[in-house]
């Protein structure tokens, strides 16, 4: 049942993450004990949600490849549903929205079949054309461009981008026979999430100069650079356990994930600002919606995937 080839290091890294989380929980508990007047409910919720998220993620990743593919398909479904619930949609387009959802099982079926060609063209070519045509056939031209544009952007971000995480699981053996699979997924997801934390911590501590004041006023140059360098260091450190990356390449990947994560984050921030909402949902207590959590991943997943595919697989 448990899928152990290539995942002994994966289990060790998960063990390390759980240890990190235990420390976070202990600190939260100490804070609540020592300062009972302060409100730490959001911090507590945040940490508790991390336990659940890492638990589900670890279960999906170490059980079997198919379970992991199913997990990412479901994640994609949640993200698309959240996005479609958030944006203005036209009543006439109900059927088109339904088609967008149908893109998900097929996209992940291509992954399951290791059918790279269909995986890479399904959303940007076939679904792109099909949703346009379906919408034209309905014949509602008022706000047509806005509707088709928002739907296709959503499909690319929530389905196509997220599905790259799943394809990392089924990449063939690389040069030097390093099994792909769960290690690569854990590597990019862990670095992306730690990058978020690192940018936040560096920004909180040393932040002075705003990077994108109009989109995300709390993001600073100091946070961005500190975060990227921290991520690059972690990338070099973790690479030998989880990936076939050389040191130099791992450093480059760290820079890409650091910057890509930042860009994904502020892109979803721009969407939220446009729509006038603070969070994208309320699914994850203390974090907000699913998109609030995977915003950075929508950029780092395809970037990391194509780096690996081009240079290693």
């Amino acid at each position: 049942m448990i899928h152990f080839d290539a995942s002994a290091p994966v289990l060790w890294v998960f063990g390390g993450l759980l240890l990190l989380l235990a420390v976070a929980s202990a600190i939260t508990l100490l804070l609540r004990r020592s300062r009972p007047t302060q409100d730490y409910s959001e911090l507590t919720q945040r940490v508790n949600s991390w336990w659940i998220m890492i638990g589900i993620f670890a279960f999906a990743l170490v059980t079997s490849v198919n379970v992991a593919i199913g997990f990412f398909a479901f994640l994609s479904f949640l993200a698309l549903k959240e996005y479609l619930s958030l944006i203005p949609t036209r009543r006439a387009d109900r059927r088109v929205l339904f088609w967008c959802y149908l893109a998900i099982p097929l996209q992940f079926w291509w992954v399951h079949e290791r059918w790279y060609h269909m995986f890479i063209v399904w959303v940007p070519v076939w679904m792109f054309l099909a949703t346009s045509v379906r919408m034209v056939m309905i014949g509602e031209t008022k706000d047509f461009l806005r509707a088709v544009g928002t739907l296709q952007w959503g499909m690319l971000t929530m389905v196509f981008s997220v599905s790259h995480l799943a394809y990392l699981l089924v990449l063939p053996e690389s040069k030097g026979s390093f099994g792909a699979g769960p290690g690569l997924v854990l590597y990019v997801v862990m670095l992306t999430q730690l990058n978020d934390v690192a940018q936040y911590v560096w920004g909180k501590t040393f932040g002075k100069h705003k990077v994108v004041p109009l989109v995300s006023p709390k993001k600073t140059v100091e946070g961005l650079i500190g975060g990227i360098l921290t991520t690059a260091a972690l990338a070099v450190f973790a690479a030998p356990w989880l990936t076939p990356l050389t040191r130099v390449d791992a450093f480059a990947v760290g820079l890409i994930i650091g910057l890509g994560g930042f860009l994904g984050d502020i892109t979803i921030s721009a969407v939220k600002r446009d729509l006038g909402v603070k969070d994208t949902g309320a699914l994850i207590p203390g974090h907000g919606g699913i998109l609030d959590r995977i915003d950075s991943l929508t950029f780092t997943a395809p970037l990391f995937f194509h780096f690996m595919k081009y240079f290693y697989y």
Binding site: L84, S85, R91, R94, F98, L275, V277, G281, L283
Partner: protein
């Protein structure tokens, strides 16, 4: 047999639709009734409204929970009548009097007297999706007759998008469910209806709903 099917329907199928296919964002869950008798009042946009509301309450209350629904619509053929009465567990009422002295609310009174939790849609029908129409005042009469029974207003958004009247395909959306403060001991009809309307408008104003035209 009917009770078992009903338990499976709400314990498995309805919860799968409401929690996995759709997904609920419930605000003020603590205001939901913990025991009967009680009247839950909600806006009506979709057949999924009843299913969603019933999954909000724990399964141990299921035997007590009954939606009040139009007899002419839900009892129009035998299969639908079986499903409505045995599985959904509706309390059927006539919308129009067949005799001048008919008491339309009699079955509802009997149910409340038994200590049931009743679900009411005072708009009368699903109507235009995601639009609130005028409330009928049957609930006000019940509130006057049962002054100790709490009336809990619930405002829902999204189900009219997921499955509006006249559509057969369910399109998933996250659903907002806002539970209001219970209304108690208002026996005067006008005052009750104004309070109910104000509570509903207040709940609707808590949400941020994207345009849907």
């Amino acid at each position: 047999m009917g009770r078992l099917i009903r338990f499976i329907f709400f314990g498995v199928i309805a919860r799968f639709i409401a929690l996995i296919v759709l997904g609920l964002n419930v605000r003020h869950r603590e205001r939901l009734p913990k025991a009967g008798p009680c009247i839950v009042v909600a806006n009506h946009n979709s057949h999924l409204d009843t299913i969603t509301l019933m999954t909000l309450l724990p399964l141990r209350l299921l035997a007590q929970v009954h939606p009040v629904a139009a007899a002419d619509y839900f009892l129009r053929n035998r299969l639908l009548a079986w499903f409505a009465l045995k599985v959904i567990g509706i309390v059927p009422i006539n919308r129009e009097r067949t005799r001048p002295d008919e008491d339309l609310l009699a079955p509802v009174r009997a149910s409340l007297a038994r200590g049931d939790i009743l679900i009411f849609f005072p708009e009368g029908s699903r109507g235009e999706p995601e639009k609130l129409t005028d409330f009928k005042s049957g609930v006000a009469r019940l509130a006057a007759e049962f002054p100790g029974v709490a009336v809990v207003p619930i405002f829902m958004h999204g189900l009219g998008k997921a499955l509006p009247k006249g559509e057969a395909i369910l399109v998933p959306f996250f659903i907002d469910v806002f539970v209001g403060e219970p209304i108690l001991d208002i026996t005067e009809r006008e005052a009750f209806m104004n309070t109910l309307r104000a509570r509903m408008d207040g709940l609707a104003a808590e949400g941020h709903f994207p345009a849907w035209q």
